[in-house]
């Protein structure tokens, strides 16, 4: 019985832990299908967690905070899209810069806004309400995430816009000849993907953790990238991947509160597991993965 309750507790935490990884991964899938890779997810998660918390506290409304997170995603996505799509810049380098910028901004912001170098607790009034269960709170955004996953799946597999996005990644020249504005589609895909990551970031500070720290994202942006590889660009598989990685993520959170396990396995090794699992999953899953032909390449009209 005790085992059963523990299991349900971990399951509930997993449902929360799944959210930022899945949202960022599904957003990345839209972008990568159009041919733009964005490894700046970690940075987007961090910056929107920060802007979300600032806005929520300033207005006293968590919903404004969530919106701020999405707007932040929009802004960073637009910057990355502008560099990648219109300036034909190096997408991976731009992403690295965004990650570094994000890490700096959240650390700077914590001191500039709250005069704390490490740890800011978001007041309860600025936090999202949760659905109470006997095994812990489940977020409304978890449900929203499920809806988003299915919407994105429908978008990329059943709509005309989805078809356009896919062609821009596979064969931008053909898309161009068919009268599709490759640059506009790619820019749109990048920005909408980044907005989902922005929502994921705000979720971390306003809902799941309710706390802001320098290392809030803890590599989840990169785990999301791995999830994209694992999913072979299928949003439904990304949901599964997000849940698996979320599960191992929450295992660490749960163990750190349960004294019994720590006696047998050092906490450092427990915290290592999500990363090792990610690595193994990607190594095992890849094989047949096929990415858009022109992923990461700017489209140059002749």
């Amino acid at each position: 019985m005790e085992f059963f309750t523990s299991f349900l507790r971990i399951l509930v935490i997993s449902l929360n832990a799944m959210v930022p990884i899945t949202l960022a991964a599904v957003g990345e899938i839209i972008g990568e299908r159009s041919g733009v890779i964005d490894i700046g997810l970690e940075g987007i998660l961090l910056i929107s967690a920060f802007t979300g918390a600032v806005s929520a506290q300033a207005t006293g409304s968590p919903y404004v905070g969530l919106l701020a997170g999405i707007v932040t995603g929009f802004a960073i996505g637009a910057l990355h899209g502008f560099i990648s799509v219109y300036l034909k810049g190096d997408q991976v380098i731009s992403g690295v810069g965004i990650n570094l910028f994000g890490g700096g901004l959240i650390a700077f912001g914590l001191i500039a806004v709250w005069q704390t170098p490490g740890h800011h607790i978001v007041p309860a009034s600025a936090r999202m309400p949760k659905i109470d269960t006997p095994f812990g709170g489940i977020s409304y955004i978890t449900i929203l995430t499920l809806v988003i996953v299915f919407l994105v799946y429908y978008l990329v597999s059943n709509t005309k816009l989805g078809l356009k996005i896919n062609i821009c990644g596979e064969h931008p020249r053909a898309a161009d000849v068919a009268g599709i504005n490759v640059e506009r589609i790619r820019f749109f895909a990048t920005v909408s993907g980044a907005m989902l990551a922005g929502l994921g970031g705000a979720f971390m500070s306003l809902d799941w953790f309710g706390v802001l720290t320098k290392e809030l994202a803890a590599g989840r942006g990169f785990i999301a990238l791995a999830t994209v590889v694992f999913s072979k660009l299928n949003p439904l598989l990304a949901l599964l991947g997000g849940f698996i990685f979320g599960f191992f993520d929450s295992l660490g959170v749960w163990v750190s509160s349960a004294a019994g396990v720590k006696k047998y396995i050092p906490w450092q090794f427990i915290l290592m597991t999500p990363y090792i699992v990610t690595l193994l999953a990607v190594a095992g899953a890849i094989g047949r993965a096929r990415f858009p032909d022109k992923l990461g390449e700017p489209y140059q009209r002749e």
């Binding site: 700096g104 990169f222 785990i223 690595l279």
Partner: protein, 358 residues
């Protein structure tokens, strides 16, 4: 002739322009939060160039950054986006502490520590190499995951295996026989700097004067051509990873045997963290060239060292420099910054003239 010179110096101009953009955006962000940007930059640059002490500290900080910059630069030259220097530095540092448990004569002990660090870094670069070659796993994912694994492994090892019996918060210090002598007393600048510089020259020689280096660069620039020329791509990719791992491992070792006053790791690994990530920026600003990396490392190190003074005298949080560094790299992602500004400047001038005329 002039256009040829322009083509040659364009990358350098581009780096300078990116640096200026970084400082400008940093100033805007500081102004938004009510800090005084000019006071902050004044403090920053006085700290770097204003004193012999400051400049020595900058060079001390640049020592590992040259090497982690090389890791990334070698990767780019070989067609790999190797961001695993961070974890490889941790492993190198752990190895250097471990061998200080041996008792050896001083000169040999230094050499053994450096080699141990290099080997540890190289070994930690093998899984991503193996996964890329056999399973096609992208190195960005594998190296980042291994960075986290190395971080927690290091935290465990420092406490459980290499812990200082007297001081719980740090590891044992490197044996006195394995320490590099201090160059400027009162600073942390040691002869480790020359190890870094020598490594840089070695990589320069290797990349442009040997067959391995040539093959590595061909694979990096044009894998199809390399294949056609009979170059073994997998061998080259593996060499790229290993060379990068060696550089990062040496950086880790030098942070132990050449980093007074502690010559040790703290349990949170604070003295070796972010060196690998900063190396990415160093390499990009240094245009992925072993000599460019040296100058870029000094620039980055200066920002890091000056940031502390900036925090104390101007009250600006030192994390500001990470924001500036991030903006610089974003700016460098757009390849033709110079061209863009050449197009923009006349446009702005025309606009000003129009405004004046009306």
């Amino acid at each position: 002739m002039l256009t040829r010179i322009y083509e040659q110096v364009k990358p350098i101009l581009n780096s300078f322009l990116a640096g200026l953009i970084g400082l400008a955006v940093g100033a805007i962000i500081m102004a938004i939060w009510g800090y005084a940007p000019f006071g902050a930059y004044d403090a920053l640059f006085t700290a770097i160039f204003g004193s012999f002490y400051g400049f020595s500290s900058t060079l001390a900080r640049a020592t590992p950054l040259i090497l982690t910059g090389l890791t990334f630069a070698i990767g780019v030259r070989g067609g790999i986006f190797n961001i695993g220097a961070e974890g490889q530095v941790f492993m190198g540092a752990l190895a250097a502490i471990s061998v200080s448990l041996l008792s050896l004569p001083s000169g040999i002990h230094v050499l053994v520590a450096i080699i141990a660090g290099a080997m540890a870094g190289a070994i930690w670069s093998l899984p991503p190499s193996f996964l890329k070659i056999t399973r096609g796993v992208h190195e960005v994912i594998s190296t980042i995951m291994l960075n986290w694994v190395a971080l927690y492994f290091g935290m465990y090892a420092v406490v459980e295996w290499l812990g200082d019996p007297q001081r719980a918060e740090k590891s044992i210090s490197a044996a006195t026989t394995s320490r590099l002598p201090i160059m400027v007393s009162g600073t942390s600048l040691t002869y480790a700097l020359f190890v870094s510089l020598a490594f840089s020259l070695l990589i320069f020689f290797l990349l442009w004067r040997t067959t391995l280096g040539f093959e590595l660069r061909v694979v990096g620039q044009n894998p199809a051509a390399a294949n056609y020329a009979g170059i073994k791509e997998n061998y080259s990719i593996n060499s790229t990873f290993i060379l990068g791992g060696l550089a990062a491992g040496v950086a880790g070792a030098l942070q132990i045997i050449g980093h007074p006053p502690t010559y040790a790791l703290y349990s949170d690994l604070s003295t070796v963290r972010n060196l690998g990530f900063d190396g990415i920026g160093v390499a990009l600003i240094g245009r992925n060239h072993p000599i460019g990396v040296i100058f870029a490392a000094v620039f980055f190190a200066g920002l890091n060292v000056g940031a502390r003074t900036m925090q104390i005298t101007a009250g600006v949080p030192l994390e500001m420099v990470r924001i500036i560094q991030g903006v610089i790299i974003i700016a460098l992602a757009a390849p033709e910054l110079i061209e863009l500004s050449n197009q923009l400047l006349p446009a702005v001038r025309n606009w000003i003239n129009e405004v004046k005329a009306s």
